[in-house]
Symmetry: C2
Subunit: 249 residues, 2 copies
Protein backbone atom coordinates (compact mmCIF):
# COMPACT_ATOMS: atom_id res chain seq x y z
CA UNK A 1 0.00 0.00 0.00
CA UNK A 2 1.39 3.37 -0.99
CA UNK A 3 0.01 6.75 -0.11
CA UNK A 4 0.27 10.47 0.13
CA UNK A 5 -0.98 12.95 2.70
CA UNK A 6 -1.53 16.68 2.43
CA UNK A 7 -1.84 18.96 5.43
CA UNK A 8 -2.62 22.67 5.19
CA UNK A 9 -0.73 24.86 7.68
CA UNK A 10 -2.93 27.10 9.77
CA UNK A 11 -2.12 30.39 11.39
CA UNK A 12 0.08 32.08 8.80
CA UNK A 13 -0.29 35.84 9.17
CA UNK A 14 -1.05 38.16 6.25
CA UNK A 15 2.24 38.31 4.32
CA UNK A 16 3.83 41.66 3.43
CA UNK A 17 6.70 42.77 1.23
CA UNK A 18 10.02 41.85 2.79
CA UNK A 19 8.61 39.21 5.14
CA UNK A 20 10.75 36.12 5.72
CA UNK A 21 8.21 33.65 4.31
CA UNK A 22 10.38 30.61 5.08
CA UNK A 23 10.50 31.65 8.75
CA UNK A 24 6.70 31.96 8.79
CA UNK A 25 6.41 28.47 7.28
CA UNK A 26 9.02 26.96 9.60
CA UNK A 27 7.25 28.51 12.57
CA UNK A 28 3.76 27.35 11.63
CA UNK A 29 3.80 24.36 13.95
CA UNK A 30 4.40 21.50 11.49
CA UNK A 31 7.90 20.02 11.86
CA UNK A 32 9.26 19.65 8.33
CA UNK A 33 11.13 16.53 7.28
CA UNK A 34 13.42 15.59 4.42
CA UNK A 35 11.21 14.16 1.70
CA UNK A 36 8.36 16.58 2.39
CA UNK A 37 7.02 18.72 -0.43
CA UNK A 38 6.03 22.20 0.71
CA UNK A 39 3.48 23.67 -1.70
CA UNK A 40 3.07 27.42 -1.47
CA UNK A 41 0.34 29.42 -3.22
CA UNK A 42 2.23 31.99 -5.26
CA UNK A 43 0.22 34.83 -3.80
CA UNK A 44 2.17 34.83 -0.53
CA UNK A 45 5.45 34.40 -2.41
CA UNK A 46 4.59 37.35 -4.63
CA UNK A 47 3.58 39.48 -1.66
CA UNK A 48 6.78 38.69 0.24
CA UNK A 49 8.72 39.62 -2.90
CA UNK A 50 6.81 42.88 -3.30
CA UNK A 51 5.18 41.75 -6.56
CA UNK A 52 2.07 43.79 -5.84
CA UNK A 53 0.93 46.87 -7.75
CA UNK A 54 -1.37 49.57 -6.49
CA UNK A 55 -3.81 50.49 -9.24
CA UNK A 56 -3.64 54.17 -8.31
CA UNK A 57 -0.01 54.13 -9.47
CA UNK A 58 -0.87 52.69 -12.90
CA UNK A 59 -1.48 54.87 -15.97
CA UNK A 60 -3.39 52.81 -18.53
CA UNK A 61 -2.32 53.20 -22.15
CA UNK A 62 -4.62 53.27 -25.14
CA UNK A 63 -4.79 49.52 -25.64
CA UNK A 64 -5.57 48.95 -21.95
CA UNK A 65 -8.34 51.53 -22.10
CA UNK A 66 -9.82 49.98 -25.23
CA UNK A 67 -9.67 46.43 -23.81
CA UNK A 68 -10.94 47.57 -20.42
CA UNK A 69 -13.97 49.23 -21.99
CA UNK A 70 -14.70 46.23 -24.16
CA UNK A 71 -14.28 43.65 -21.37
CA UNK A 72 -15.82 45.73 -18.58
CA UNK A 73 -12.55 45.71 -16.64
CA UNK A 74 -10.60 48.38 -14.82
CA UNK A 75 -8.19 49.68 -17.52
CA UNK A 76 -5.42 49.99 -14.92
CA UNK A 77 -5.76 46.27 -14.11
CA UNK A 78 -5.66 45.56 -17.84
CA UNK A 79 -2.50 47.65 -18.15
CA UNK A 80 -0.77 45.54 -15.49
CA UNK A 81 -1.85 42.39 -17.35
CA UNK A 82 -0.37 43.78 -20.59
CA UNK A 83 2.85 44.65 -18.73
CA UNK A 84 3.15 41.04 -17.51
CA UNK A 85 2.20 39.40 -20.82
CA UNK A 86 4.71 38.43 -23.45
CA UNK A 87 1.78 37.89 -25.79
CA UNK A 88 -2.01 38.20 -25.62
CA UNK A 89 -3.36 35.06 -27.26
CA UNK A 90 -7.06 35.86 -27.03
CA UNK A 91 -8.93 38.90 -25.84
CA UNK A 92 -12.60 38.06 -26.20
CA UNK A 93 -14.07 37.52 -22.75
CA UNK A 94 -10.91 37.25 -20.73
CA UNK A 95 -7.30 38.05 -21.60
CA UNK A 96 -5.57 34.74 -22.24
CA UNK A 97 -1.86 35.51 -22.21
CA UNK A 98 1.49 33.87 -22.51
CA UNK A 99 3.49 35.28 -19.60
CA UNK A 100 7.14 36.20 -19.84
CA UNK A 101 7.88 32.88 -18.09
CA UNK A 102 6.00 31.01 -20.85
CA UNK A 103 2.84 30.12 -18.90
CA UNK A 104 -0.46 30.35 -20.74
CA UNK A 105 -3.14 31.59 -18.37
CA UNK A 106 -5.86 34.16 -17.83
CA UNK A 107 -4.75 37.74 -17.20
CA UNK A 108 -1.07 36.77 -17.21
CA UNK A 109 -1.54 35.61 -13.62
CA UNK A 110 -2.44 39.11 -12.39
CA UNK A 111 -5.15 38.82 -9.77
CA UNK A 112 -6.99 41.13 -7.41
CA UNK A 113 -8.45 38.47 -5.12
CA UNK A 114 -6.75 37.98 -1.76
CA UNK A 115 -4.41 40.81 -2.72
CA UNK A 116 -4.27 42.02 0.86
CA UNK A 117 -4.96 45.70 0.23
CA UNK A 118 -7.97 46.92 -1.71
CA UNK A 119 -7.02 48.59 -4.95
CA UNK A 120 -3.99 46.34 -5.40
CA UNK A 121 -3.26 43.43 -7.71
CA UNK A 122 -0.80 40.61 -7.20
CA UNK A 123 1.54 39.55 -10.02
CA UNK A 124 3.30 36.23 -10.49
CA UNK A 125 6.82 36.09 -9.06
CA UNK A 126 9.47 37.40 -11.45
CA UNK A 127 11.16 33.96 -11.52
CA UNK A 128 9.07 31.38 -9.61
CA UNK A 129 11.76 28.68 -9.83
CA UNK A 130 14.22 31.08 -8.21
CA UNK A 131 11.59 31.85 -5.57
CA UNK A 132 11.24 28.13 -4.85
CA UNK A 133 15.01 27.68 -4.63
CA UNK A 134 15.38 30.62 -2.27
CA UNK A 135 12.57 29.36 -0.04
CA UNK A 136 14.13 25.91 0.03
CA UNK A 137 17.57 27.24 0.91
CA UNK A 138 16.16 29.36 3.70
CA UNK A 139 14.04 26.47 5.04
CA UNK A 140 17.19 24.36 5.12
CA UNK A 141 18.99 27.09 7.03
CA UNK A 142 16.18 27.40 9.55
CA UNK A 143 15.19 23.76 10.02
CA UNK A 144 18.17 21.65 9.01
CA UNK A 145 15.94 19.72 6.59
CA UNK A 146 15.60 20.19 2.87
CA UNK A 147 11.99 19.64 1.82
CA UNK A 148 11.13 20.27 -1.81
CA UNK A 149 9.29 23.52 -2.51
CA UNK A 150 6.58 24.04 -5.14
CA UNK A 151 5.10 27.44 -5.93
CA UNK A 152 1.57 27.11 -7.29
CA UNK A 153 -1.19 28.99 -9.05
CA UNK A 154 -4.63 27.98 -10.24
CA UNK A 155 -5.00 27.96 -14.01
CA UNK A 156 -8.07 27.54 -16.16
CA UNK A 157 -7.86 24.88 -18.83
CA UNK A 158 -9.14 24.68 -22.40
CA UNK A 159 -12.22 22.52 -22.92
CA UNK A 160 -12.86 22.05 -19.20
CA UNK A 161 -14.71 24.08 -16.62
CA UNK A 162 -13.03 25.27 -13.46
CA UNK A 163 -9.43 25.76 -12.50
CA UNK A 164 -6.81 23.33 -11.30
CA UNK A 165 -3.73 24.24 -9.29
CA UNK A 166 -0.46 23.82 -11.19
CA UNK A 167 3.22 24.25 -10.41
CA UNK A 168 4.76 27.52 -11.60
CA UNK A 169 7.96 27.11 -9.60
CA UNK A 170 9.77 24.17 -8.04
CA UNK A 171 13.00 23.28 -6.26
CA UNK A 172 14.01 19.79 -5.20
CA UNK A 173 11.05 18.04 -6.81
CA UNK A 174 11.34 16.09 -10.05
CA UNK A 175 8.69 17.97 -12.05
CA UNK A 176 8.07 15.08 -14.45
CA UNK A 177 8.15 11.31 -14.07
CA UNK A 178 9.17 9.83 -17.38
CA UNK A 179 7.92 6.31 -18.14
CA UNK A 180 8.49 6.59 -21.87
CA UNK A 181 10.46 3.59 -23.04
CA UNK A 182 9.78 1.69 -19.83
CA UNK A 183 7.44 -1.28 -19.64
CA UNK A 184 3.87 -1.70 -18.45
CA UNK A 185 2.80 -4.68 -16.33
CA UNK A 186 2.72 -6.94 -19.39
CA UNK A 187 6.15 -5.81 -20.56
CA UNK A 188 4.71 -3.61 -23.32
CA UNK A 189 6.57 -0.36 -23.93
CA UNK A 190 4.88 2.78 -22.59
CA UNK A 191 5.30 5.19 -25.48
CA UNK A 192 3.71 8.37 -24.14
CA UNK A 193 3.51 8.06 -20.36
CA UNK A 194 5.09 11.11 -18.82
CA UNK A 195 3.56 12.28 -15.56
CA UNK A 196 3.43 15.92 -14.53
CA UNK A 197 4.29 15.18 -10.90
CA UNK A 198 4.67 18.81 -9.83
CA UNK A 199 1.28 19.78 -11.29
CA UNK A 200 -0.38 16.84 -9.56
CA UNK A 201 1.33 17.82 -6.30
CA UNK A 202 -0.06 21.35 -6.69
CA UNK A 203 -3.57 19.95 -7.28
CA UNK A 204 -3.36 17.63 -4.28
CA UNK A 205 -2.20 20.53 -2.10
CA UNK A 206 -5.13 22.69 -3.16
CA UNK A 207 -7.59 19.97 -2.12
CA UNK A 208 -6.19 20.09 1.41
CA UNK A 209 -7.25 23.71 1.86
CA UNK A 210 -10.59 24.36 3.50
CA UNK A 211 -11.43 27.09 0.98
CA UNK A 212 -10.36 30.16 -0.93
CA UNK A 213 -11.05 32.32 2.12
CA UNK A 214 -9.33 30.05 4.65
CA UNK A 215 -5.90 31.68 4.67
CA UNK A 216 -4.00 28.42 4.12
CA UNK A 217 -1.45 29.21 1.42
CA UNK A 218 0.99 26.50 2.54
CA UNK A 219 0.36 22.76 2.32
CA UNK A 220 2.83 20.03 3.23
CA UNK A 221 2.70 16.82 1.17
CA UNK A 222 4.18 13.59 2.54
CA UNK A 223 4.80 10.31 0.74
CA UNK A 224 6.48 11.73 -2.37
CA UNK A 225 10.03 11.09 -1.15
CA UNK A 226 10.88 9.26 -4.37
CA UNK A 227 10.47 12.51 -6.32
CA UNK A 228 12.38 14.70 -3.88
CA UNK A 229 15.95 15.35 -4.98
CA UNK A 230 19.08 16.58 -3.26
CA UNK A 231 19.76 19.22 -5.89
CA UNK A 232 17.13 21.75 -6.86
CA UNK A 233 16.71 20.29 -10.35
CA UNK A 234 15.18 21.90 -13.45
CA UNK A 235 12.20 23.50 -11.70
CA UNK A 236 8.74 24.06 -13.10
CA UNK A 237 10.25 25.62 -16.21
CA UNK A 238 10.63 22.00 -17.36
CA UNK A 239 6.83 21.77 -17.54
CA UNK A 240 6.55 24.48 -20.16
CA UNK A 241 6.06 23.11 -23.66
CA UNK A 242 7.42 25.48 -26.30
CA UNK A 243 4.65 26.74 -28.62
CA UNK A 244 6.23 25.09 -31.67
CA UNK A 245 6.07 21.67 -29.95
CA UNK A 246 2.45 21.96 -28.92
CA UNK A 247 0.32 18.98 -29.92
CA UNK A 248 -3.09 20.51 -29.37
CA UNK A 249 -5.21 22.51 -31.79
CA UNK B 1 -5.45 22.31 10.18
CA UNK B 2 -7.18 20.61 7.28
CA UNK B 3 -5.91 17.74 5.24
CA UNK B 4 -6.39 15.00 2.73
CA UNK B 5 -4.92 11.52 2.46
CA UNK B 6 -4.69 9.19 -0.51
CA UNK B 7 -4.06 5.47 -0.18
CA UNK B 8 -3.60 3.16 -3.16
CA UNK B 9 -5.19 -0.27 -2.76
CA UNK B 10 -2.84 -3.15 -3.34
CA UNK B 11 -3.60 -6.63 -4.50
CA UNK B 12 -6.31 -6.09 -7.09
CA UNK B 13 -6.16 -8.91 -9.62
CA UNK B 14 -6.04 -8.35 -13.38
CA UNK B 15 -9.59 -7.29 -14.25
CA UNK B 16 -11.53 -9.06 -17.00
CA UNK B 17 -14.81 -8.43 -18.82
CA UNK B 18 -17.75 -9.17 -16.57
CA UNK B 19 -15.80 -8.95 -13.31
CA UNK B 20 -17.59 -7.40 -10.36
CA UNK B 21 -15.16 -4.51 -9.92
CA UNK B 22 -16.96 -3.14 -6.86
CA UNK B 23 -16.56 -6.50 -5.14
CA UNK B 24 -12.84 -6.49 -5.93
CA UNK B 25 -12.55 -2.97 -4.47
CA UNK B 26 -14.61 -3.80 -1.40
CA UNK B 27 -12.50 -6.89 -0.80
CA UNK B 28 -9.13 -5.17 -1.15
CA UNK B 29 -8.59 -4.78 2.56
CA UNK B 30 -9.40 -1.10 3.08
CA UNK B 31 -12.68 -0.60 4.95
CA UNK B 32 -14.56 2.11 3.07
CA UNK B 33 -16.36 4.90 4.93
CA UNK B 34 -19.00 7.45 4.07
CA UNK B 35 -17.17 10.56 2.91
CA UNK B 36 -14.43 8.59 1.16
CA UNK B 37 -13.72 9.25 -2.50
CA UNK B 38 -12.80 6.10 -4.42
CA UNK B 39 -10.78 7.03 -7.51
CA UNK B 40 -10.60 4.31 -10.13
CA UNK B 41 -8.35 4.39 -13.19
CA UNK B 42 -10.71 3.99 -16.11
CA UNK B 43 -8.70 1.11 -17.51
CA UNK B 44 -10.07 -1.38 -15.00
CA UNK B 45 -13.58 0.04 -15.41
CA UNK B 46 -13.31 -0.32 -19.18
CA UNK B 47 -11.98 -3.86 -18.89
CA UNK B 48 -14.76 -4.92 -16.52
CA UNK B 49 -17.26 -3.43 -18.97
CA UNK B 50 -15.69 -5.24 -21.92
CA UNK B 51 -14.54 -2.00 -23.56
CA UNK B 52 -11.50 -3.70 -25.06
CA UNK B 53 -10.91 -4.35 -28.76
CA UNK B 54 -8.63 -6.95 -30.25
CA UNK B 55 -6.72 -5.42 -33.13
CA UNK B 56 -7.00 -8.64 -35.14
CA UNK B 57 -10.76 -8.04 -35.31
CA UNK B 58 -10.36 -4.51 -36.72
CA UNK B 59 -10.44 -3.73 -40.45
CA UNK B 60 -8.82 -0.34 -41.00
CA UNK B 61 -10.49 1.92 -43.54
CA UNK B 62 -8.73 4.20 -45.98
CA UNK B 63 -8.38 7.15 -43.62
CA UNK B 64 -6.95 4.95 -40.86
CA UNK B 65 -4.43 3.45 -43.28
CA UNK B 66 -3.39 6.90 -44.50
CA UNK B 67 -3.05 8.30 -40.97
CA UNK B 68 -1.32 5.16 -39.70
CA UNK B 69 1.29 5.37 -42.46
CA UNK B 70 1.87 9.06 -41.86
CA UNK B 71 2.09 8.79 -38.05
CA UNK B 72 3.91 5.45 -37.92
CA UNK B 73 0.99 3.87 -36.08
CA UNK B 74 -0.79 0.55 -36.47
CA UNK B 75 -3.70 1.42 -38.82
CA UNK B 76 -6.02 -0.87 -36.87
CA UNK B 77 -5.30 1.10 -33.69
CA UNK B 78 -5.95 4.31 -35.67
CA UNK B 79 -9.27 2.87 -36.86
CA UNK B 80 -10.38 2.27 -33.28
CA UNK B 81 -9.41 5.86 -32.44
CA UNK B 82 -11.49 7.13 -35.36
CA UNK B 83 -14.41 4.97 -34.23
CA UNK B 84 -14.25 6.56 -30.76
CA UNK B 85 -13.75 10.14 -31.95
CA UNK B 86 -16.59 12.55 -32.60
CA UNK B 87 -14.04 14.81 -34.26
CA UNK B 88 -10.31 14.74 -34.99
CA UNK B 89 -9.02 18.18 -34.02
CA UNK B 90 -5.39 17.73 -35.04
CA UNK B 91 -3.54 14.89 -36.76
CA UNK B 92 0.07 16.00 -37.00
CA UNK B 93 2.09 13.98 -34.51
CA UNK B 94 -0.67 12.46 -32.46
CA UNK B 95 -4.42 12.31 -33.02
CA UNK B 96 -5.99 14.92 -30.77
CA UNK B 97 -9.69 14.10 -30.72
CA UNK B 98 -12.91 15.22 -29.19
CA UNK B 99 -14.51 12.01 -27.95
CA UNK B 100 -18.20 11.28 -28.17
CA UNK B 101 -18.40 12.25 -24.46
CA UNK B 102 -16.89 15.65 -25.27
CA UNK B 103 -13.40 15.09 -23.83
CA UNK B 104 -10.46 16.50 -25.77
CA UNK B 105 -7.52 14.11 -25.50
CA UNK B 106 -4.94 12.15 -27.44
CA UNK B 107 -6.18 9.15 -29.43
CA UNK B 108 -9.75 9.57 -28.15
CA UNK B 109 -8.61 7.80 -24.98
CA UNK B 110 -7.78 4.57 -26.82
CA UNK B 111 -4.66 3.07 -25.28
CA UNK B 112 -2.63 -0.09 -25.66
CA UNK B 113 -0.66 0.19 -22.43
CA UNK B 114 -1.75 -2.01 -19.54
CA UNK B 115 -4.40 -3.46 -21.88
CA UNK B 116 -4.01 -6.86 -20.31
CA UNK B 117 -3.71 -8.89 -23.51
CA UNK B 118 -1.14 -8.12 -26.16
CA UNK B 119 -2.74 -6.98 -29.40
CA UNK B 120 -5.62 -5.34 -27.60
CA UNK B 121 -6.53 -1.73 -26.93
CA UNK B 122 -8.67 -0.32 -24.14
CA UNK B 123 -11.35 2.27 -24.89
CA UNK B 124 -12.92 4.77 -22.53
CA UNK B 125 -16.13 3.58 -20.88
CA UNK B 126 -19.22 4.21 -23.00
CA UNK B 127 -20.64 6.52 -20.28
CA UNK B 128 -18.10 7.07 -17.48
CA UNK B 129 -20.59 8.89 -15.24
CA UNK B 130 -22.92 5.90 -15.50
CA UNK B 131 -19.95 3.64 -14.71
CA UNK B 132 -19.24 5.70 -11.58
CA UNK B 133 -22.87 5.60 -10.51
CA UNK B 134 -23.07 1.83 -10.99
CA UNK B 135 -19.85 1.29 -9.03
CA UNK B 136 -21.13 3.51 -6.24
CA UNK B 137 -24.48 1.72 -6.06
CA UNK B 138 -22.79 -1.66 -5.95
CA UNK B 139 -20.28 -0.51 -3.29
CA UNK B 140 -23.21 0.68 -1.20
CA UNK B 141 -24.87 -2.72 -1.61
CA UNK B 142 -21.71 -4.56 -0.59
CA UNK B 143 -20.39 -2.33 2.18
CA UNK B 144 -23.35 -0.36 3.54
CA UNK B 145 -21.41 2.86 2.95
CA UNK B 146 -21.70 5.25 0.04
CA UNK B 147 -18.29 6.65 -0.86
CA UNK B 148 -18.10 8.91 -3.88
CA UNK B 149 -16.62 7.31 -7.00
CA UNK B 150 -14.42 9.04 -9.58
CA UNK B 151 -13.33 7.39 -12.82
CA UNK B 152 -10.05 8.85 -14.05
CA UNK B 153 -7.76 9.02 -17.05
CA UNK B 154 -4.48 10.83 -17.68
CA UNK B 155 -4.75 13.60 -20.25
CA UNK B 156 -2.04 15.66 -21.91
CA UNK B 157 -2.49 19.41 -21.73
CA UNK B 158 -1.80 22.20 -24.19
CA UNK B 159 1.31 24.30 -23.50
CA UNK B 160 2.55 21.97 -20.75
CA UNK B 161 4.67 18.83 -20.77
CA UNK B 162 3.45 15.62 -19.22
CA UNK B 163 0.02 14.31 -18.37
CA UNK B 164 -2.19 14.94 -15.38
CA UNK B 165 -4.96 12.64 -14.21
CA UNK B 166 -8.46 14.08 -14.64
CA UNK B 167 -11.99 12.96 -13.83
CA UNK B 168 -13.92 11.48 -16.73
CA UNK B 169 -16.72 10.06 -14.57
CA UNK B 170 -18.03 10.82 -11.10
CA UNK B 171 -20.87 9.93 -8.75
CA UNK B 172 -21.44 11.49 -5.35
CA UNK B 173 -18.67 14.07 -5.64
CA UNK B 174 -19.36 17.74 -6.36
CA UNK B 175 -17.20 18.07 -9.48
CA UNK B 176 -16.78 21.82 -9.11
CA UNK B 177 -16.54 24.15 -6.11
CA UNK B 178 -17.96 27.50 -7.12
CA UNK B 179 -16.61 30.54 -5.27
CA UNK B 180 -17.80 33.01 -7.89
CA UNK B 181 -19.72 35.79 -6.19
CA UNK B 182 -18.39 34.82 -2.75
CA UNK B 183 -15.85 36.88 -0.86
CA UNK B 184 -12.11 36.54 -0.34
CA UNK B 185 -10.53 37.16 3.08
CA UNK B 186 -10.78 40.90 2.63
CA UNK B 187 -14.43 40.75 1.56
CA UNK B 188 -13.60 41.34 -2.12
CA UNK B 189 -15.76 39.39 -4.56
CA UNK B 190 -14.10 36.40 -6.20
CA UNK B 191 -15.14 36.78 -9.82
CA UNK B 192 -13.60 33.73 -11.46
CA UNK B 193 -12.75 31.24 -8.73
CA UNK B 194 -14.27 27.93 -9.65
CA UNK B 195 -12.31 24.87 -8.55
CA UNK B 196 -12.27 21.63 -10.53
CA UNK B 197 -12.48 19.46 -7.41
CA UNK B 198 -12.93 16.17 -9.26
CA UNK B 199 -9.90 16.79 -11.49
CA UNK B 200 -7.77 17.69 -8.48
CA UNK B 201 -8.99 14.54 -6.73
CA UNK B 202 -7.93 12.49 -9.75
CA UNK B 203 -4.49 14.11 -9.71
CA UNK B 204 -4.04 13.53 -5.99
CA UNK B 205 -5.02 9.89 -6.44
CA UNK B 206 -2.46 9.38 -9.18
CA UNK B 207 0.31 10.66 -6.91
CA UNK B 208 -0.48 7.92 -4.40
CA UNK B 209 0.37 5.18 -6.89
CA UNK B 210 3.87 3.77 -6.80
CA UNK B 211 4.09 3.80 -10.60
CA UNK B 212 2.51 3.00 -13.94
CA UNK B 213 3.52 -0.64 -13.54
CA UNK B 214 2.42 -1.03 -9.94
CA UNK B 215 -1.06 -2.41 -10.52
CA UNK B 216 -2.79 0.08 -8.24
CA UNK B 217 -5.80 1.30 -10.22
CA UNK B 218 -7.82 2.18 -7.12
CA UNK B 219 -6.99 4.95 -4.66
CA UNK B 220 -9.09 6.00 -1.67
CA UNK B 221 -9.08 9.71 -0.76
CA UNK B 222 -10.08 10.85 2.72
CA UNK B 223 -10.74 14.36 3.99
CA UNK B 224 -13.00 15.49 1.16
CA UNK B 225 -16.26 14.81 3.02
CA UNK B 226 -17.49 18.35 2.31
CA UNK B 227 -17.63 17.55 -1.41
CA UNK B 228 -19.26 14.13 -1.04
CA UNK B 229 -23.00 14.23 -1.68
CA UNK B 230 -25.88 11.93 -0.89
CA UNK B 231 -27.17 11.97 -4.47
CA UNK B 232 -24.92 11.12 -7.37
CA UNK B 233 -24.96 14.67 -8.73
CA UNK B 234 -24.08 15.92 -12.21
CA UNK B 235 -20.99 13.76 -12.68
CA UNK B 236 -17.84 14.64 -14.58
CA UNK B 237 -19.95 15.71 -17.56
CA UNK B 238 -20.26 19.00 -15.66
CA UNK B 239 -16.52 19.54 -16.22
CA UNK B 240 -16.86 19.62 -19.98
CA UNK B 241 -16.85 23.13 -21.42
CA UNK B 242 -18.78 23.30 -24.69
CA UNK B 243 -16.54 24.32 -27.60
CA UNK B 244 -18.49 27.54 -28.19
CA UNK B 245 -17.79 28.66 -24.61
CA UNK B 246 -14.09 27.97 -24.70
CA UNK B 247 -11.94 30.89 -23.56
CA UNK B 248 -8.59 29.68 -24.86
CA UNK B 249 -7.05 30.22 -28.26
Amino acid sequence: MTGVSAVALAGLPEVRAGDDLAALIAGAGEALRDGDVVCVAHKVVSKAEGRVRRLEDVRPGERARELGARLGRDPRHVQVVLDEAAEVLRDERVLICRTRHGFVCANAGVDASNAGEPGSVVLLPEDPDASARALRARLRELTGTAPAVVVTDSFGRPWRHGQAEVAIGAAGLAPLDDWRGQADRAGRELTATWIAVADQAAAAADLARAGKDSGEPVVVLRGLDRFVTQDDGPGAAALIRPPEEDLFP
